[in-house]
């Protein structure tokens, strides 16, 4: 049995997103403050890069906000030029804070169960999309 399992982000955190020029940020707040240590390890710029692929063209930053048990992700170059010139329907990136909750994130099975994170939707495969369809 693998030590790392992949769970939907929605089982770990809730979020909100918004725009700044051609960038958007996604704030992800752990459902329980003590889950921040899992969130911090799971959601890395590399993971976000894998999820967004070509949809984000610039640098990705992730910062921790321990006071509220959250991380803030800034994704640059993801809005097709920004609200005023973008050709995308959601030019302000409002939807990304909810859409990302379907991304699978890696968690340590033992630590996650110790801290009470639900593993009901776990998968061995990062790209298992059965929870989306």
């Amino acid at each position: 049995m693998s030590e790392i399992v992949w769970i939907p982000l929605s089982d770990l955190a809730h979020g909100r997103s918004g725009d700044k020029g051609d960038s958007f940020n996604i704030g992800l707040i752990a459902h329980k403050k003590k889950w921040l240590e899992i969130l911090e390890v799971s959601v890395t710029p590399k993971l976000l890069d894998e999820w967004y692929g070509d949809s984000v063209t610039g640098l990705i930053s992730v910062w921790s906000m321990p006071g509220i048990g959250a991380i803030n992700c800034l994704l640059r170059g993801g809005l097709g030029g920004g609200a005023t010139t973008s050709l995308m329907l959601d030019a302000q990136g409002k939807i990304w804070g909810q859409s990302i909750l379907r991304m699978r994130v890696p968690v340590n099975r033992k630590l996650a169960s110790e801290l009470g994170v639900s593993l009901n939707n776990q998968s061995e495969n990062q790209w298992d999309m059965s929870h989306i369809i």
Partner: protein
């Protein structure tokens, strides 16, 4: 009943209560009136300006010198708002003056005159608009480099359509100090609207006046001597402003656990309660729906921010990392732990240059293999326009996973089989003609594409895009202006015909909203009363509505 408190002794006992009247120009127009009536406030703040709102307002002002401000303000002031502000002694602070705070203030004075509030003092805060001085500034060392792309204005060569520096809290506090009842500003940073109120209420502005400090001086220097951590206090106030500036979004709107929010339909607006020890509590208006809790306020804290170590405003740079948000009681959370660092040396400027032409259009596609049909439609449209140069078309298959990143969508597409797809195109070109040609090719697909295509409407009109140009300017290049207007000094400039028409329509809207307010339900079948059933054109409906307004 709330009265304006401007001495520290009062502040020690009970908090200053600042309500937020909404989150943007276009938010629910009557919500501020409900909040004023249901709650006792010291101030109401409203942030009407998103990053590019001012460019749109500047465009309006060029067409008509009396326009260019947030017309929503007139709607709710006329629908009982101005009366409520006066009766309950609530000071209104808003950046809804936009590109034309002077004209906006005139409208406010007209509203005050209508209810006999002749002593009403309206402050106009300007100086944010640097466009008239642009050449001078560029010649004198300001480069106004685009802070995302690094491009300079001279490199780009495009004409600047609007350029507004973000003013801070200083001018607002000055205006309150000289007795303003209503403060109408141009581009003031969202959170500074609240900080300005606190500088006045906590006695800092009075102290600054005593010390002879100017309103452009760092507001941290305004703190009375016994205050040991003025930067942290400014940081707490700034966070309070940030938390309520988006209106109902901190009362359960746009919340991940939306299904837990009671009575979303009647969502109330937020109130920040600020104590002398700089504790900040966030709560909401009485009655109505919504809720305030730790999770909701946390979502708002993190909304539209970058590096949490440096949330930058003109007044202070806030380190948010150790802010804690705890539930205190039902619908009350307490926010502590913001750390302040000295104000930035530069001010942010939101500018805009003219962009290309734009139009968007959509069609509804149904039937077996709806996605394949939509793809065929898209290919046909592109083929028919392929001769045009400099035309960029972006296609979205809505229902086919557009809210997932492209690579995820591609993984899913073989197994997706939506019952319908909304096919949406957006096109841009430096050439207006290309966009017109694009809009002409959409509706024909109903007859000349696959079966199952519907939902076409009138051709959309090409519109000019504005390109956002965020940049920085040194503080010394920007000076705010505070002017108090009251009725004896009121000059009503003749409104041009066009704006008069808009205002007339607004007033019609007001009367409808007033009825709504009185009846509390949408009972008036306006068009029915006028026998509209027999007319089937949209143009007729517009005319009849205008007539209704005249009556």
């Amino acid at each position: 009943m709330a009265v304006s408190k401007s001495n520290v002794a009062v502040l020690a006992e009970e908090p200053i209560r600042i309500g937020s009247g909404g989150g943007f120009w276009g938010d629910r127009p009557l919500a501020p009136v409900d909040l004023l009536k249901s709650d006792d406030l010291d101030y109401m703040m409203i942030d009407y300006l998103a990053e590019l709102t001012l460019s749109i307002m500047a465009k309006q002002k060029r067409r008509d010198p009396s326009s260019g401000w947030a017309t929503d303000l007139e709607i709710w002031l006329a629908a009982g708002g101005i009366d409520a502000l006066r009766k309950k002694s609530v000071k209104l602070v808003t950046n809804g003056g936009g590109a034309n705070p002077e004209s906006c203030a005139r409208m406010v004075l007209e509203q005050a005159a209508k209810i006999g509030w002749h002593e009403c003092k309206v402050a106009v805060i300007s100086g944010d608009d640097i466009l008239p001085r642009l050449d001078y500034l560029l010649k004198n060392g300001e480069e106004l480099t685009h802070f995302e792309s690094g491009e300079t204005i001279s490199d780009n060569g495009a004409e600047m359509m609007s350029a507004n520096a973000y003013l801070g809290a200083g001018p607002i506090a000055s205006a309150l100090e000289i007795g303003a009842d209503i403060i109408i500003t141009g581009r003031v940073a969202d959170a500074s609207l609240l900080v300005g109120c606190m500088l006045h209420s906590a006695g800092w502005a009075y102290n600054a006046f005593q010390l002879g400090l100017t309103r452009e001086s760092p507001v941290v220097d305004w703190a009375p001597k016994h205050i040991t951590n003025p930067l942290d206090i400014l940081a707490q106030w700034t966070i309070a402003g940030h938390l309520i500036e988006c209106g109902a979004q901190v009362c359960g709107g746009n919340y991940s656990n939306w299904d837990e929010v009671p009575n979303l339909a009647a969502l109330t607006l937020p109130i920040a309660e600020i104590y002398l020890n700089s504790d900040v509590k966030i709560t909401r208006g009485k009655g109505g729906g919504g809720m305030v809790n730790r999770k909701i306020v946390s979502e708002q804290l993190i909304y539209e921010i970058g590096d949490p170590e440096a949330y930058i405003t003109p007044d202070v740079v806030v380190d948010m990392r150790n802010i804690t948000i705890e539930d205190e009681s039902e619908d009350v959370v307490i926010v502590t732990g913001a750390i302040g660092k000295p104000e930035p040396k530069s001010l942010k400027v939101s500018a805009a240059i003219e962009g290309g032409w734009f139009a968007s259009s959509s069609l509804l596609i149904s039937g077996p293999n709806a996605l394949a049909r939509a793809t065929a439609c898209d290919l046909a449209l592109r083929a028919r326009l392929s001769a045009l140069e400099e035309l960029e078309i972006y296609t979205e298959f809505i229902g086919g996973g557009v809210t997932l990143p492209k690579n995820i969508r591609q993984q899913l597409s073989p197994i997706l089989n939506p019952p319908e797809v909304l096919l949406r195109w957006a096109a841009t070109s430096p050439n207006r003609r290309n966009i017109t040609d694009f809009t002409r090719e959409v509706a024909p697909l109903v007859l000349t594409g696959p079966a199952g295509v519907g939902g076409y409407g009138a051709r959309t009109k090409p519109r000019r895009q504005l390109q956002f140009w965020p940049t920085l300017i040194s503080r010394k290049s920007v000076e705010s202006l505070v002017k108090i207007e009251h009725l004896t000094h009121l000059h009503i400039t003749p409104e041009s015909e066009r704006f008069h028409f808009i205002r007339k329509r607004t007033r019609g809207f007001i009367s409808r909203l007033q009825d709504e307010l009185d009846e509390r339900e949408w009972t008036r079948p306006i068009v029915k009363k006028l026998g509209w059933e027999r007319n089937d054109s949209i143009a007729d409906l517009t005319i009849l509505k205008e007539k209704e307004v005249e009556i």
